[in-house]
Symmetry: C2
Amino acid sequence: MKIGAAVLVALLPLAAQADEGMWTYDNFPKAALKEKHGVTVDDAWLEHLRLSSVRLVEGCSGSFVSAAGLVLTNFHCAQTCLAQISTAQKDYQTEGFLADTLADEVTCPGFEINQLLSIADVSARVEKAVAGRPARERAEAEKAEDLRIEAECASSADVRCDVVSLYGGARHHLYKYRRFQDVRLAFAPEMAIAFFGGDPDNFNFPRYNLDMALLRVWNGAQPLATEHYLRWSATGPKENELTFISGHPGSTRRQFTVAQLEQQRDVQIPDSLLRQAEQRGLLTEYQRRGVEPQRHSMDILLTIENSYKANLGAHHALADPAFFAGLVAREKKLRRLVGAKPESQKAYGGAWDGITAALTRLRGFRDEYYQIEAGRAFSSELFGIARLLVRAAAERPKPVAERLREFSESAIPGLEQAVANPAPLYDELEIALLTFSLTKLREVLGTDHPVVKKVLGAESPEDLASRAVKGTKLHDVAVRKALWEGGPKAIEASDDPMIVLARRVDPDARAVRRRLEDEYEGPLEVETQKLARARFAAYGASTYPDATFTLRLNYGTVRGWTEPGGQVIPPFTDLRGTYDRATGRAPYALPGSWLGRKADLDLDTPFNFASDNDSVGGNSGSPIVNIQGELVGLAFDGNIHSLGGDFGFDEAKNRAVSIHSAAILEAMDKVYRAHRLLKEIRPPR
Amino acid sequence: MKIGAAVLVALLPLAAQADEGMWTYDNFPKAALKEKHGVTVDDAWLEHLRLSSVRLVEGCSGSFVSAAGLVLTNFHCAQTCLAQISTAQKDYQTEGFLADTLADEVTCPGFEINQLLSIADVSARVEKAVAGRPARERAEAEKAEDLRIEAECASSADVRCDVVSLYGGARHHLYKYRRFQDVRLAFAPEMAIAFFGGDPDNFNFPRYNLDMALLRVWNGAQPLATEHYLRWSATGPKENELTFISGHPGSTRRQFTVAQLEQQRDVQIPDSLLRQAEQRGLLTEYQRRGVEPQRHSMDILLTIENSYKANLGAHHALADPAFFAGLVAREKKLRRLVGAKPESQKAYGGAWDGITAALTRLRGFRDEYYQIEAGRAFSSELFGIARLLVRAAAERPKPVAERLREFSESAIPGLEQAVANPAPLYDELEIALLTFSLTKLREVLGTDHPVVKKVLGAESPEDLASRAVKGTKLHDVAVRKALWEGGPKAIEASDDPMIVLARRVDPDARAVRRRLEDEYEGPLEVETQKLARARFAAYGASTYPDATFTLRLNYGTVRGWTEPGGQVIPPFTDLRGTYDRATGRAPYALPGSWLGRKADLDLDTPFNFASDNDSVGGNSGSPIVNIQGELVGLAFDGNIHSLGGDFGFDEAKNRAVSIHSAAILEAMDKVYRAHRLLKEIRPPR
């Protein structure tokens, strides 16, 4: 009962209440902070934190922590890099990595880091472009205007400009970034301590993880000179201390209507979970094929397990009658407020039914969209490259406003980086995953679906996967570049089997994408805009938009929580607890470095801590700072209750989980002897 | 819109409407049949069909089709037998099996077949035994009385007596069976034609499957002389012909309240699906370990895939807003009827809230129950044997009424058969599945749960699985029999690692089972009885109970259906279509026998057909007969719309799928030359 009641209270307004809120930097609630916590932050404070914060475009956050471009983020955010630089002789995921000298820092292929320079409101311009159009043409017109704005803004390859749709499309802001594409790895510990406790302890607390890595941004032949970077706190945080997390929460669904939440609970999340569960089973067993297959598939298996657990937590939240009742009550309240005035009822009252109608239309082609356009049918990096090349050939010659969204001027440098990415691709793994996904294509759409027939013909999924992976030349970066440069003629002339496959399904993929935009996305935005305006009218402008993998700032305090059964969870763990928890068997086996240097460590050093900062996936790697703007920790996870945070913030139990800044220093010093890097980041004694 | 409306009409009453209904033989609606179809069946007709019908206790149905004990059922119902008699040299699942002589028919280890002799109403006795007890003690008291009744009835090992709870506990009937434990295999075709189209075509139609097998019941040294068996129709069924399916539908949830349906949709079904999806991924990849691992795991993989697809269809039905609205309307109607009279409101009106309260309590220990007692943590045949032995030692010395339900006198012969079952168990597969399930135990209950700690200690799941499987002697039937006979002393003295494991968790498993009975099952039955009585009062006695894997009879007609998109699906396929669909690649590769003898076949022979008989899982292998009581087909599946049949019968689209009787004869004659068996079953020309 207590759960339900607590949730109800916390969920009712979407606006600031307690320490809920993922605030955009242009709308940070300084007054609320002052009122609640008695402290003030000024614009310079905000600007420094914003420019010290970075985004890793693969899906993480980070921060500059030295004057020479050093970026602190999570091990699991750098893991793709560790996997890509590993070889049969040296597995850096397992063994960790430490560059003895600057010259030893190795390039992370495909990594891009963004620093947010400015935010501008372009809502009026976007709205003008779509004004008067029917809902079905809206998505296309809006996209065209977004692409024009981005092209005007992106003056050079190292500037990235994204028009971001906020509040379900009620606001459009232009986010301008400095783009860095030369990113190198300086340090990462062994996975056994970075991810100590593995999947069983993931999203749980108490926790004992050194989930950290240090990257470095280079600028030409030099490390980037960073004017803005975070100084290290001398002590780290204490219980009840005020903390701020500055990072990039990926997506939330807090403004969803009940019909949308039901669709999430009944269709969207189960569908994702089932796919992930099957992939997980497959890859877990695949790992037994041998040492090399194990190494090749480790990164993707961990990614799937993490996403599976997050989705499962989100589903559990929605499947909890008390939690869901809180979300229903939130909608009822807004409906009542809207219905109370005839003019607001007229302007906004139809939004709920409009959204439900869009969801009903979506049912007709949702599976086709996910299979054919969203790429579920083709789980293959090589296919992804083939599709990119096929589409780039068609899109790049077009005027910018007529292109597909992902071929904006601002996106081209990233695409070129992907084409030129020399990271190895593994045929055996590619075949296994493509066989799986083609089997699913046939299972979901049925053997007799025209696209299934077109793709498979008389081949089995395994036949086709094997033929396309073994026959393609797209492993070769030179071949890819030639197709990128060669344009439509080169693509037309290619008989590369992966290119042929991507070419063959492209018309169907584009058709179902267009259908999604016209029948679902465009009409949906019209209705969600109404709801956003209804919320502004009801609750004022002090609200924050759902997360969009753009920079947000929130505040909270270091504290534990009480479980529904009454168990009190304290906010800190320490290094000693790590040794107590170790069994010697994975995932509770400590690496040799930790076993060998136990005596050197101050075991009282706090290791991980919980705080009620409002964070979700995408916040991984975010700095957590104190009121002085000093780094006191590195966010890497949330507790199990944080997984309902997609839909609403339960202040009583939702906790972010971070590494204590002192533990990072202690481990780098005593366990890893990473003194070159420590000298860069360590606070003056 | 059409779907929703159609469903609504079909779902409103649970009583007979159209051809819905899985009728118990003691309450078959002769009058409704006469009214709707203009035909009459008498008691002799019913008795003959009942005594010709059989149950395969592993979870299927079948029928006697000769005077010498020949039983017709599905290939997939005999597949466990095919797997168990196969060896590295000879894989009967793939190659099929045909006994040239009676002496060549091979024993199916562990198979038990039941023939229903009589049904008696023991409701009054059971109700008296529980009268006046609090809800929490009810399950225990009822079980005790059931066990007494069964013990009195089961006069010898070849008589099996089950007290069956019907209408959610509002009726208790004693089902008395003749039990046959010497079951042999006479014929099965190759899996490639029995399951042509594989998982993609499963639950779909049009269909082209020879999903049949012939078993034989032996009685001592002779084939059983069967007085009652089904004669073969000379022609098989025509479109719109009246047909009857007599079989054992496993379970349905048509009397569930909306709260129970929500729990199914949000918790129960997703939870099962996710586990099955992961097992499926694991086993699909496990199959690549080699030819032998592939053979060992085929049966279990197909079982999981079938169950997964059935669960997925059930979930899709509940996730369909229109379908669910129909179920909500059904409940609303009953609530209205109950509320209309003060005395019925007083007697029954609290049932819905009572059920919701039971579900809320269940949340507190559901995971523990499924993991520890329901066996999810221990996916191992060897563990199953160990637990059986550990519990048998404790239970068998007790007075019958004090035993666990599954140790009734009536159950002992089946348990002895399981102990003595010489079918091979495969260590490699056992270790893989036990590792998986122990990993899940830790994942679901958490590393720090006391039972997880007790089970794993400092071992990893793989350590423990490997040690227990490799160290146990329970592969040896003699060792098992010694422990079975040795009783508590032998179990206490055993240091067999699997026995030790089963012994160690037994107190926890019993405790959570008791908690389930006391806090959930007992109170739930009190409330569901009220609802059943409310339905009797509202709709009269002409209702049928939810399926309970007991013999049911229903009627319907041979007909296709119209898809929501307008596509008309005709009711028959023919042999020609099989060849048209074949691609030469699994699962669309025909076996050599069918390719080689195509010219011999009459390709116009109807192969599979659809009918609107109301059937669900458990009906596999059921005979489908005409008004003359002649066999016209063999039910083996339902169409995709039948998967919502768990919750309500949609007459417009829900179809059973059967093999046409003529196709069975044609294939046995022309493809398999099974003339010895054909002579037994073929009708006089």
